[in-house]
Structure formats: C-alpha cells, structure tokens
C-alpha cells in the first residue's frame, strides 16, 4: 500500500468527504474520535498486521504519525 492509498483508506475509515493530507493534526479533524480510532486500530491489525496500542494512538499528533507507524 502506498501513501496515497493509505490516505484514501483513512478518508474512508473517517467517513470524511474532504481529502486527508499528511500534515493534518488529528485533533483538528472533526471525524477523529474514539470510534474512528477503533476503526484505525482494526485496519492496522487486519490489513497491515500491525498491532496499534491504545497508548500509541493517544500519543499520535498528526496523520504523518500514522503513516510512520504503518511503515509507508
């Protein structure tokens, strides 16, 4: 999965109409909440075989942090 596909997937998970970009701050994204955090954790688990721990999610500040964790 390349970066563009990953960002599209996040947009899909967040059920967001507007594009998601690497520099976005998570707390400034309306759709970022505990439900979308759950969906992101499940996506990492199923599609990337990466366990994303709750503490790691809470530490993350930007979309770039998610990209780094995904190793993309």
């Amino acid at each position: 999965m390349n970066k563009e596909e990953f960002l599209e997937k996040l947009q899909d998970i967040f059920e967001r109409d507007d594009e998601i970009t690497e520099d976005m701050v998570l707390d400034e994204i309306d759709e970022w909440d505990s439900l979308s955090a759950m969906a992101v954790m499940a996506f990492f688990n199923k599609s990337l075989s990466i366990t994303l721990l709750p503490a790691e999610v809470r530490e993350m500040k930007t979309i770039a942090d998610l990209i780094n964790k995904a190793g993309i």
Binding site: D33, S34, L35, A37, M38, A39, L52, R58
Partner: protein
C-alpha cells in the same frame, strides 16, 4: 487452558430482561445534540435500545435469573438438579452467595451444591465449563444462572454514569444435562490481569471499602467504574481471534464447518472486526441482539440463543461461543447445539 468435556448437552435456555427500556436517541445531549455523531455511534456500535431496571425498582439480577429458571424448570423434576452455579458481578448480598439463596426460592433439594462465580462478559462460557465438569452419570443436571444488573452500578436516574450508555440488565438460566451420546464440548479459557484496570469497579470491595467520600450527591454509591474503551477494543480484537484459532486447532475443526459464531454482544464494531480478522462470513455472526437489549454482560451469549430460538430450536447447529471482557478474561467453547429448548424472551 484447553479442556474437553464429554457427554454434556444444553437442554434448555431462557433469558429475562426488565420491561423498562431506554433508547439511545434519548441521550442526544451526550453527543452535544450532534445528530450526525449520534448516527455514527449507532451505526458503528449497534447500540439502540437497552432494557434496564428502573432507578426506583427493587428488582435485582437474581429476580431476572429466577424468572428465567422457573421457565426452564416448569416441566422438570426439580429433585433431579444437583447444582446451581450463578455467574454474576452484581450479587444480591456480599454474603451469602446468590446461588445459595436460589435453592429455597426455586424449591430445589437441600442436597444441591451451590456457588457463585465472579465473572463478567466471559462468564457464560466459564460457567459452561465449570457446570459441565460437575455433571456425570449420577449427577445428571446442573442449573447455570448467568446475569448482571449493570444499571445497579452505573445507575439509570438523574445522576447515572452517562458514559458508556451501552449496558443492559439481564439474567439467563441454562439447564445442562448428562447426554448418553458421545458428544464433546471444547474449551479455551484465559486471563491477562496485567491490564485489569482497563475495565473495573474500583470501590466497594475490601481493598477500597465504602467511605463517606464515595457517595454521590443523590446518596447513591459511586463504584468508581472505569472503562478504557480503546484498551478493551484492542484486547478484544487481539485475544479473541487468538482464542478462536487456538480452539479450532485444538478441536481439529475449520471455520467453514461452523454454523454460527456467537460472540459476547459487546458492540457491533468489536464483533464485526473479530469476524473480519478471522475471515468469517458476517451472516454466521449474530450481532443484532445488542441493539435490542444492550450489552447484557454475562447474559449476552444465552440472550442470543433466546433471540434466535427459532433457528436453534429446530435444527442441530455447530456453534462457537466466545466471551471476553473484565479481568481481562476470555473464554471460548465449541459445541454442537442439539436443538435445546430456547424459550422466548421473558419481560418483567
């Protein structure tokens, strides 16, 4: 641990919930009257209606289990019951055990063995394993009661803990009996208490005994309940698939041969994600029960049997059950459901 029991069958199942119910749409203030957010909560978690004991009611979980037990025992010889096991975290009293109180209330023999098990959402399968181990050709029937009145902890009145509005109250009764056929039930159970604080009730036990400052303004007790939603979610989508893979390997069985995967009705997101991770077709994974009654904790797996009685009453099904939650504990069972009598939901 992995374990196999033989010659046991589930003969009958009943579940009882309070008639009183709450609708998630009545909680719009929780989502700052943001309807889009509320719709997302409903579509993601599946929660909609919750049956709970009203704030001013003296009803307890033992009452719910009692009505369920009376239903399954109405055509039984009560003297044939050799044990009552009650799995709950909302017992009537600190002591004696609720199962003990049920002996006289249900009119069972004095020779009956009774004990309670303090377990939550994994508790039905724990109870199934323990009860199955107590049955043999001389002690042929055991009554398994499982239920929680979570509203007694979280409250339903003005000062109720508003988040999470997910739990319902329910009590189930299951009659297990000795079966001459060479049937087997496979179990996989476990616990990782290193992270028990992801879901717990801090106050009211003997580590943190009640003190004046544990009471809320309205006089009700604050159990100090806490849930780390993301922590429980992570636990669920990690440990439950592991447990399912383990039990399938142990039982030399394949997902394709299993008719239904009955997961603890925690929430829709957890259940559907576990199914996705294990590549289980979603039509084999019921999750509608939680929308009708809420998360019934220890009673949630039997409530699915109650809810899908028309399917289980008429056809033999291979079923994998898995409960998971407080502890943090998990317990899975793989068994053949040989047309148990599943009574319709009882409302009180």
């Amino acid at each position: 641990m992995n374990s196999t029991v033989r010659n046991i069958r589930i003969k009958s199942v009943a579940t009882c919930v309070p008639e009183y119910k709450l609708n998630i749409l009545d909680n719009t203030e929780l989502y700052k009257d943001n309807r889009k957010k509320l719709d997302k909560v409903i579509s993601t978690t599946g929660f909609y209606i919750r049956h709970v004991i009203p704030a001013n009611s003296s009803l307890t979980v033992s009452d719910l289990c009692y009505y369920a037990a009376e239903k399954i025992l109405e055509n039984e010889d009560k003297s044939s019951i050799s044990a009552i096991i009650m799995v709950t975290q909302t017992p009537d009293l600190i002591a004696p055990a609720t199962s003990c109180l049920m002996q006289s209330r249900l009119g069972l023999n004095e020779s009956v063995l009774t004990f309670d098990v303090n377990q939550g959402c994994a508790g039905f399968v724990y109870g199934l394993l323990i009860a199955s181990r107590m049955i043999d050709s001389s002690n042929r029937k055991v009554l398994l009661l499982t239920g929680n009145a979570s509203s007694k902890i979280f409250g339903t009145g003005e000062n109720a803990v508003k988040e999470p509005p997910i739990f319902g109250d329910g009590g189930s009764a299951v009659l297990l009996e000795y079966n001459e056929d060479d049937s087997q039930i496979f179990f996989n159970v476990g616990v990782d208490s290193s992270n028990y604080q992801a879901l717990y009730h801090k106050n009211g036990g003997f580590r943190n005994q009640p003190t004046k400052n544990m009471f809320k303004e309205d006089g009700s007790f604050d159990y100090g309940s806490y849930m780390d939603g993301l922590g429980v979610f992570n636990f669920s989508i990690t440990k439950v698939p592991e447990s399912i893979r383990e039990i399938l390997s142990y039982a030399h069985e394949d997902t394709a041969n299993i008719d239904y995967f009955i997961f603890h009705q925690a929430n829709k997101a957890i259940i559907t994600n576990i199914a996705k991770i294990l590549d289980i077709p979603i039509e084999k994974v019921p999750y509608e029960t939680l929308s009708k009654y809420g998360n019934l904790s220890v009673a949630s797996i039997p409530s699915v049997l109650t809810d899908m009685g028309n399917i289980f009453n008429n056809k033999i099904n291979k079923v994998l059950m898995s409960g998971f939650g407080i502890g943090l504990s998990w317990a899975s069972a793989y068994l053949v459901l040989d047309k148990p009598v599943c009574y319709p939901m009882i409302y009180v």
